[in-house]
Amino acid sequence: MLELTGIINWIHETLMANIPASWLVSLIEYVLIGAGFLALYAVLALILIYFERRICAFFQCRLGPNRVGPFGVFQVIADMVKILLKEIISVKHIDKVLFYSAFFIVIMGSFLTFGGLQFARGVHGADFNIGVFYLLAVSSISIVGVLIAGWASNNKYALIGSMRAGAQVISYELSAGLSLLTMVILAGSMNLSTIIEEQADAWFIFQAPIPVLIALVIYLIAGHAETNRGPFDLPEAESELTAGYHTEYSGIQFGFFYLAEYVNLFIIAAIATIVFLGGWQPFHIVGADGFNAVMDYIPTWAWFFGKAFALIFLSLWVRWSFPRLRIDQLLHLEWKILLPFGLFNLVLMAVWVIIFK
């Protein structure tokens, strides 16, 4: 009843019953799914922005937005109204084509990744047999947008910022890939559905606690470095490069970067949830059937978003506690700490799988 599959099936059946041409049904469903994803994308970004602003305020002994609507929940909507209607400045001496395509590439990258996620039992856009590989591939598209934005702006701050972003992503992609690969060994599949099904009895983190925990930590660090969020926000580096790669963007163009940043935050948390924490699978203890039944009663989408938001909270906690790394420290962390640990963990996982499975 609380599951979303019921609604989806109902829509599908009503359409099938009323429209004779099956291609038309498929077309309508594609449009509906697209619209649904877009809506979810925007709503998630808004929720996350509000979430971050309140939580950041709480970490800093402040109250945060609380005057627009009850508890300030309409704050972000006001922001959206404003940013939509803000003037878009046409900057002189820019590479026009690249400048105006950069934010679309950023949004596209995050949206493509969004399409590959699994939100609840039976709720997902596309289910590839190489799902993990797909996520890794498309999630790094947005960095191309960042690089282009920095280059096309004809601004020295933006250029430095985007070059930093390039160096950062090339390095951290490696660790993120390695830690996901570790999990692929455990799951024996790259298909996200299979990975989630594998975790029905126990999440991966309980199946092989030591290597999975190491992989999770590495993935979270690398993931946040990829999304350019503090303490890895070097491409933006507010106190150094004013606004980094999006210095020259105004109005909704900047709004796209802003949205993408928050959705990327969610995407990292979502992938971590799916691969390490069982995705939408409820918390089960083998043998305790009564307990499992209670857990099953909670809808799967609640499980998924609950876990994802817990990870997001962790990320915010880290972000608002630590200072920013310097570029050489950033590379040091990747090449001298995360990568050796990741490689070691890969071997450890292989051994673990051989011994325990």
Partner: protein, 211 residues
């Protein structure tokens, strides 16, 4: 929107200074009559704008420290949704001129203002920004930023208390709520670059001849 319909959470209209200015302002805006549909749309837009004003991180002197205090835990302008300070003028909505503007800084301030995207607002904080304040007699201080850029709200004080700035922000909020998206208000015209250059040349000529 009428001045009497303006609502600011936990404040009454009578609590605000200078309401007669707003009444005149609205009168001028409504001169051609108001379309009802556009009026409602305006209200929605202005609601969004007035509650999401992102300041530019700009401060020149003492008032800047009090401006930091507004951002810090005690006063916390995040409650109003103003805390997203942008370092790039392209993304900012309001510039708090917190501090003295001297002759060397004046062109920079003008440039910052020009770099901001419309709609943009200016709040002059403290005596220096309003009138030159303590440095009225100085040879190098601009006697009020309204000589360079149009100012929306003046917040007196030297430096003004954080709460006084919050009050100024609420005044700004009220002014934005009266605006019309489809009929932008006239901003006081600040003389253009060439004219000022010509003026400077002429003045220096005058001085020379008088000597």
């Amino acid at each position: 929107m009428e001045v009497k319909n303006l609502r600011v959470k936990s404040m009454k209209n009578e609590d605000f200074n200078n309401n007669d200015y707003l009444e005149k302002y609205v009168e001028e805006l409504h001169k051609g009559g108001v379309n009802v549909a556009i009026g409602v749309l305006d209200d929605v837009i202005n609601w969004g704008r007035s509650h999401s004003v992102w300041p530019l991180t700009f401060a020149t002197s003492c008032c800047g420290i009090e401006f930091m205090c507004v951002g810090a835990a005690r006063a916390d302008f995040a409650r109003f949704g103003w805390e997203v300070t942008r370092n790039s003028p392209r993304q900012a909505d309001v510039i708090f001129v917190a501090g003295t503007i001297v002759y060397k800084m004046a062109p920079v301030l003008k440039r910052l203002y020009d770099q901001m995207a419309e709609p943009k607002y200016v709040i002059a904080i403290g005596g220096c920004a309003i009138s030159g304040g303590p440095f009225k007699d100085s040879y190098n201080v601009v006697q009020g930023v309204d000589k360079i850029i149009p100012v929306d709200v003046y917040v007196p004080g030297c430096p003004s208390r954080p709460n006084a700035m919050l009050y100024g922000m609420m005044q700004m909020e009220r002014k934005i709520k009266l605006e019309s998206f489809f009929k932008l208000p006239k901003k006081p015209i600040i003389t253009k670059e060439e004219e000022i250059r010509a003026q400077i040349d002429e003045e220096s000529k005058d001085v020379k001849t008088s000597k």
